[in-house]
């Protein structure tokens, strides 16, 4: 396949490659996937493969990302011609196009009304329900977005994507315990998702920062990061979180030691010596990752540029403290 990037969902493609893809769009769209012959003959001459429609969908999203609405319109036309306008997925994709093309809030509200109609006509239409949540979020109505997401999750409580979106929405409202609850649901569905374990650590850390009453949150955050590192070696975000959490615990150590016994019914907090060791380990590993990734050693690529910079900044901050 000439465009390997097009076979993955575009949320993982970088900004630059999305731009490159959408520049290729006219060339890809020039090759019609379905033949123009009448029905029985068209079976013989179509060049459709399983990947064709994945490519079209991802191309569509890349085009919207880069603002090429004309090519996006062509993609969605091809998709509609193939699967029909009442297909759930096509309805959601058409909705995305309309959202992107909406010039002002009034137009966006009109799209939202369309979604409501579609949901009334077919209450099982999950893709459109999700679009509705996204539109409400775009309209800056987080309470409504949360309400409709909770409704969706009552109907379909095994949808990890929706749970993690709900967790993000709650987090944006600083409702930490709800956000943590939602993320726990994601972990129940995908227990080995290391990114989610680390995310859980981040949420716990943030919730500790907002209300630093309960030190057991911090030790759970520490353990979540450890779990994510156990599942995925050299996970930059995990080490980063581990380091700052250890720092926080060590900072608090003299204060908490007096009342450490009272807190935490789940597990006793790790001993200061262990935290110290973990901190050393995280610092060592972070330095190694930053060094190797910035020299672009083979097997050490694929780290996010921004995350590397943040990790380096964290290490530098540490170094300054030592110099002083």
């Amino acid at each position: 396949m000439a465009f390997p990037d097009l076979l993955h969902p575009p949320s993982h493609t970088s900004q630059s490659s999305a731009l490159r893809l959408s520049q290729e769009a006219p060339r890809i769209l020039a090759k019609a996937p379905t033949s123009s012959l009448p029905y029985p003959l068209s079976l013989l001459s179509s060049s459709e493969t399983e990947e064709t429609w994945t490519i079209y969908e991802n191309l569509f999203l890349s085009c919207l990302r880069t603002g090429d609405n004309v090519s996006a319109r062509k993609c969605i036309d091809h998709l509609t011609a193939r699967f029909g306008a009442v297909n759930e997925r096509i309805m959601a994709l058409t909705g995305i196009y309309k959202e992107a093309a909406a010039a002002d809030t009034a137009a966006l509200v009109k799209v939202l009304d369309k979604y409501n109609e579609a949901i009334q006509a077919d209450p099982t239409n999950m893709p459109v329900r999700k679009r509705k949540v996204a539109t409400l979020k775009a309209l800056n109505r987080p309470a409504d977005a949360i309400a409709s997401l909770v409704e969706l999750l009552d109907l379909s409580p095994t949808d990890a994507e929706a749970w993690s979106e709900l967790s993000d929405l709650y987090l944006a409202q600083s409702m930490f315990s709800q956000a943590i609850y939602s993320l726990e649901e994601v972990l129940l569905i995908f227990p080995n998702a290391w990114a989610m374990q680390a995310r859980m650590g981040e949420l716990l850390y943030l919730s500790y920062l907002s209300s630093p009453a309960d030190p057991s949150t911090l030790s759970e955050a520490l353990r979540r990061y450890c779990r994510s590192l156990e599942l995925c070696d050299d996970y930059l975000r995990g080490y980063y979180g581990l380091k700052i959490t250890c720092q926080k615990i060590l900072e608090n150590a003299p204060k908490t030691s007096s009342k450490a016994v009272a807190a935490s019914e789940d597990l006793p907090p790790p001993s200061p010596a262990k935290v110290e060791k973990l901190h050393e380990l995280a610092t060592k590993k972070l330095a190694e990752i930053v060094r190797r990734a910035s020299q672009q050693e083979p097997g050490w690529d694929g780290y996010d540029e921004a995350e590397l910079i943040a990790a380096r900044a964290l290490l530098d901050r540490d170094a300054e403290v030592i110099v002083r």
Binding site: D122, P123, T124, D154, L155, S156, P157, T158, Y181, E184, L187, L188, I189, P191, E220, L222, R223, R224, C226, R227, L229, E230, E265, D266, L267, P270, K274, K277, L278, L281, K285
Partner: protein, 258 residues
Amino acid sequence: MGQPVVQTIQRDPALFYWILLPITVVMILTGILRHYATILLQSTPKKQPLPNVRQHRSLIRGVNLRQNGNQLSPSSFQNRRAQMVSDFKEGKFLADPEGRGKPRPNPMTDPAAMEGMMGMMKGQMTMMIPQTLIMGWINAFFSGFVIMKLPFPLTPQFKSMLQSGVGTRDLDVRWVSSLSWYFLTLFGLQPVYNFILGSNNSANQVTQQMAQMNPNPGAMGPDQDPDKLFLNEAENLEVMEHRWILDGVEDRILAQLA
């Protein structure tokens, strides 16, 4: 005592062109035809009504909690378990709360179940009809022909497999009759279909029959009472033992990396 006498039969080479090849070609073509016929006859699966979706997924959520509960901290797990067990026992997620405790309706009178059975019937028909026709065709035209000789020796146990339709006791096992060739192609063409149609084809009835024996074991059967399933799951959750996976994770990490 010399070498065992090698049986030779003077065969008309036309047997090869007019029996062996036609049977093979016809069998392959029927397979392909059957593949496309099944695709055409497939009815799109009907959408489940919303309450049923909710019932099914809520049950799966219970199963998830049981299987992956170790991911949660003990306090959070206890809360969830208490909540879920009481909900399951009350039947909060049932699609049909009034139908609790009543016996399930007879599947023959249920129109939804009838539809499923029709689909199965259709699948059976696409297998049965061509099979009967070809079998009749071979019996009518080619019965009793010996059409080829295998290039390797075999034990006499294979006689019934390779020489059906030929009633000679002393014939060497290596000779294959036309009816047997039909059976061999019937069961042995799956790789050929895989090559022509791709691996996920429905050309061979044998594999299809095997698939029908256990239609997706994970799904809730239509004749199971959902209320019983929920009560069952609540019981499983109640007796479950919880061990937090984060217990001692920092020691594991230190042992692994330091």
